[in-house]
C-alpha cells in the first residue's frame, strides 16, 4: 500500500530568505529516511511541506502517482510526530490516540486504540492526561497517535529532542523496531547525527536549503562528499595538499613536500589544490623514525601536544612541523604504544582510509554546527 515519496524541484521562499532551494529527493517506500542538518538548514521546512503545513513556492510533491503538493494537511495520507509532541492537553491518552480515527469516522475504533496503546506499552494509561505522563511516555503517545492512522508516510520532527540521553538511546531502538514492524515510510528530521546514523537506512545531509549528500550512514561517514559532511558527520582531519600526478589507481598528493597516495575512487577532484581528509581513528601514531611498510602514507616530525584518556580510546593532538594539529584516536587495545605530551612521533594511515575534497570548500564548514 505504500509508495515512494518524491519531491521535485521544491523551493520555499520566506520573506527575506530561501529556506529550501530547488530540492529533489526520493524517499523509497518503507524506508527509514533521515533529514539531517543543523538548525536553519531547511529540514523542518521540507518536512512541513510534506505534511502540508507549508506550501512550496515551487516544485511538486508526489506519493507514488498521486500529486499532493496543494492538498490540505487533513487530506493527506501523511501523519506527523511533532516536536514536543503537541498532544492535546484537554483529552486523555485514549482520546488523543483515537483522534485521527474519529475524525475519519472509523467505526469501532476502540480495539484499534487498545491495540496501538499495546504496541507502545501504554495500555494502563488510557485515562490519564498528557500532563501526567513522563516525556518518554508522551513521546510514545505521539507516535501511537500518528501511527494508528496507518499513514503512507510518517513524519517525525525531532521526536527525541526533549528526552534525556539514556532515554533517547532507548527510544531510538524502539522507533527502529516499530518501523520495521509496521513497514511504513518514516521521514525523520534531526540535527543529531548519531540519532540519524543509528536509525536511518538513508540519510540526506542538508545545509543552507540544499542536500549536501545522500546515502547510507556508512557511505556518508566513510566517504563524505563535502567538507560540511566530513565535519558534521563525525570528525575529520583536513590537511591542505596539491595533486601532482598519479600512480596506478592512486593520485599522488604533495603535502608540505611529502608525497601521499589516495585511491582515485575516493577523490572528488583530480587536479589542483585539495583537502586531504582522514578520520581521527584511522590515523596511527608511531615513535619518530619507525619504518613503515610500502603502501602506507606517512607524515613525519610531529610532536604530541595533548593527551586525553577516555577509557575505550585515547585522544591525541599531534602538531605537524608546519603548525597544524591533527586529532588521533587510538583504541586502547593494549597492543600499541602509548605516548605522552612532548613525544616526537610520526603519523601514518592507509591510502584507502583517506579521501580528497575540493580545496575551494571551507575546511571548517559544519564544525560549529555540531551540537
Amino acid at each position: 500500500m505504500t509508495s515512494d515519496l518524491v519531491l521535485e524541484g521544491i523551493s520555499k521562499q520566506f520573506a527575506g530568505h530561501r529556506a529550501v532551494d530547488n530540492l529533489d529527493l526520493t524517499v523509497p517506500a518503507g524506508s527509514f529516511f533521515a533529514l539531517l542538518g543543523p538548525s536553519g538548514c531547511g529540514k523542518t521546512t521540507t518536512l512541513r511541506m510534506i505534511a502540508g503545513l507549508e506550501e512550496p513556492t515551487t516544485g511538486t510533491i508526489r506519493l507514488g502517482d498521486d500529486e499532493i503538493t496543494g492538498l490540505r494537511p487533513y487530506k493527506r495520507p501523511v501523519n506527523t510526530v511533532f516536536q514536543n509532541y503537541a498532544l492535546f492537553p484537554h483529552l486523555d491518552i485514549f482520546e488523543n490516540v483515537a483522534f485521527g480515527l474519529k475524525r475519519r469516522k472509523v467505526k469501532d475504533y476502540k480495539p484499534k486504540v487498545e491495540e496501538m496503546l499495546d504496541l507502545v506499552e501504554l495500555n494502563d494509561y488510557g485515562k490519564r492526561r498528557p500532563g501526567q505522563l513522563s516525556g518518554g511516555q508522551q513521546q510514545r503517545v505521539a507516535l501511537a497517535r500518528a501511527l494508528i492512522n496507518r499513514p503512507q508516510v510518517l513524519l517525525l520532527d525531532e521526536p527525541l529532542g526533549a528526552l534525556d540521553l539514556k532515554l533517547r538511546r532507548q527510544m531510538q531502538l524502539e522507533l527502529k523496531r516499530i518501523q520495521t514492524e509496521v513497514g511504513i515510510t518514516f521521514v525523520h528530521v534531526t540535527h543529531d547525527q548519531e540519532e540519524a546514523m543509528t536509525m536511518a537506512d538513508t540519510i540526506a545531509v542538508m545545509n543552507g536549503g540544499l542536500i549536501e549528500q545522500l546515502g547510507s550512514p556508512a557511505e556518508l561517514y566513510d566517504l563524505p562528499a563535502t567538507t560540511f559532511v566530513a565535519n558534521f558527520l563525525g570528525q575529520s582531519n583536513l590537511i591542505r595538499g596539491a595533486i601532482i600526478g598519479q600512480a596506478d589507481e592512486n593520485l599522488i598528493v604533495d603535502v608540505q613536500g611529502r608525497k601521499v597516495l589516495v585511491p582515485k575512487a575516493r577523490c572528488r577532484v583530480t587536479e589542483g589544490e585539495v583537502w586531504l581528509g582522514i578520520r581521527p581513528e584511522k590515523v596511527f601514531l608511531a615513535p619518530a623514525g619507525t619504518e613503515e611498510g610500502d603502501g602506507v602514507n606517512q607524515l613525519l616530525g610531529a610532536v604530541v601536544t595533548d593527551v586525553s584518556y577516555v577509557g575505550v580510546s585515547t585522544q591525541y593532538l599531534a602538531k605537524l612541523p608546519w603548525g597544524q594539529e591533527l586529532t588521533v584516536f587510538e583504541q586502547n587495545t593494549g597492543a600499541r604504544d602509548t605516548f605522552r605530551a612532548g613525544d616526537a612521533v610520526d603519523l601514518h594511515w592507509r591510502p584507502a582510509h583517506s579521501f580528497l575534497l575540493d580545496a575551494a570548500q571551507d575546511a571548517l564548514a559544519g564544525v560549529e554546527d555540531v551540537e
Binding site: A51, G52, L53, R72, P73, Y74, K75, V78, N79, T80, F82, Q83, N84, A86, L87, F88, P89, H90, F99, G100, R103, R104, E121, R129, G131, S134, G135, G136, Q137, R140, R145, A146, N149, D164, K166, L167, Q170, M171, E174
Partner: protein, 300 residues
C-alpha cells in the same frame, strides 16, 4: 520497554523539603497587606451589608435602624422587586451572549491572525477604558439619539419605521451593556487563545480534522478557561449595572442596580441591603452552577 517507565520514575525530582519557620514568617508578612485590605474593604462592608439586610424595615435614618433579624425583608423585597431583578439577570445573560458572539471572533483574530498589528489591536480594545464609563455611555446616547445618523440610516433602510427609535429601548440598554463590557470578554479570551500552542492546531489538521473540526475539538475546548473567565467578568458586573439602564432605557428597562442605588440614597437601608444580598447570592449560585458545568478545573 518497561525500563522506560522505571527510568522516568527515577528521574523525577524529589519532593521539596518542608518550609522552615523563617519562610513561614515571610509568608505571613506577604499575606498581611492583602489580608488587611480585604478585611477592611471587603469583609467588614460585606458583614455590615448582611447585617443591614436584617434591620427593622420600619426604621429610618432619622429614627435609626435596630437589628430585629427581620429575615422577612428578603421575601418582602423580592415580592416588590422580582421584575427588575429578573430583568437584570436576563439583560446580563443577553449581554454575556452578545459579548461572547462578538468577542470570540475578535479575540481569535487578534490572537491568531493579527501578526504585527496585535499590540495595536489590543490597545484599541482597551482604548475605551481611557474614558470613564459614564462618558462612554453618554456617547452611546448621542450616537443612538432620535435625530442621530444611526437612526436616520436605519430609517432610510426601512429597518426602523418612521416613528422608530433606538434610545429608550431594551435593545439600547443591552447594546450599551454589550459595548461597555466587551473588553472584559475579549481580554481573557485573547489571553487563553494566545496561550494555545499553534502546533496543537497543526496537529488537528495533520490528524484529518478540517479547520472547522479543529476549531470545535481543539481550539474551542482549549479556550474554555477564557470563555469561562470572560463570561463571568461580563455577567457579574452587567447584572449589577445601572448606568446603562438609567441613560439608555426607560422605567421599563430598569435594572435592580437602579433600585438598589435609589433605595440606598433614599435611606431605605434594609430594603436596599436585602436586594444587594439577594443579588449577590443569586450571582454566586449561578456562577457556582456554571463553573461546575463548564468544568474549568479539568482544563490546563
Amino acid at each position: 520497554m518497561s525500563a522506560v517507565g522505571q527510568l522516568s520514575a527515577a528521574s523525577q525530582t524529589p519532593a521539596p523539603p518542608p518550609p522552615r519557620s523563617g519562610r513561614r514568617l515571610t509568608a505571613y508578612l506577604l499575606l498581611l497587606p492583602g489580608g488587611l485590605w480585604l478585611l477592611l474593604f471587603f469583609v467588614v462592608p460585606l458583614v455590615s451589608l448582611l447585617a443591614a439586610s436584617l434591620y427593622d424595615p420600619n426604621g429610618s435614618i432619622e429614627d435609626g435602624f435596630s437589628m430585629t433579624w427581620s429575615f422577612g425583608n428578603f421575601a418582602d423585597t423580592m415580592a416588590d422587586y422580582a421584575r427588575p431583578f429578573g430583568r437584570s439577570l436576563w439583560y446580563a445573560l443577553l449581554t454575556t451572549a452578545f459579548c461572547l458572539l462578538l468577542g470570540y471572533p475578535l479575540a481569535y483574530a487578534i490572537a491568531m491572525k493579527a501578526g504585527r498589528w496585535k499590540n495595536l489591536m489590543l490597545a484599541l480594545v482597551i482604548a475605551p477604558f481611557f474614558t470613564s464609563f459614564l462618558i462612554r455611555t453618554l456617547s452611546w446616547k448621542l450616537l443612538l439619539s432620535d435625530n442621530g445618523f444611526v437612526v436616520d440610516a436605519l430609517k432610510w433602510l426601512h429597518i426602523l419605521g418612521p416613528d422608530g427609535r433606538l434610545l429608550a429601548t431594551t435593545a439600547a440598554v443591552v447594546t450599551g451593556l454589550t459595548y461597555n463590557f466587551l473588553p472584559f470578554m475579549v481580554l481573557p479570551l485573547y489571553a487563553s487563545l494566545e496561550k494555545i500552542d499553534r502546533r496543537l492546531i497543526e496537529a488537528g489538521g495533520d490528524l484529518f480534522a478540517g479547520p472547522l473540526t479543529t476549531f470545535r475539538v481543539v481550539t474551542l475546548p482549549l479556550s474554555m478557561p477564557g470563555v469561562v473567565a470572560g463570561t463571568l467578568l461580563t455577567f457579574i458586573p452587567a447584572a449589577g449595572d445601572y448606568i446603562n439602564a438609567q441613560l439608555l432605557g426607560t422605567p421599563k428597562q430598569r435594572m435592580i442596580g437602579n433600585d438598589i442605588q435609589r433605595l440606598f440614597s433614599a435611606g431605605a437601608y434594609p430594603t436596599a441591603a436585602a436586594l444587594s444580598v439577594t443579588l449577590m447570592a443569586a450571582i454566586v449560585v449561578l456562577v457556582l452552577i456554571y463553573v461546575r458545568r463548564a468544568g474549568t478545573d479539568d482544563l490546563v
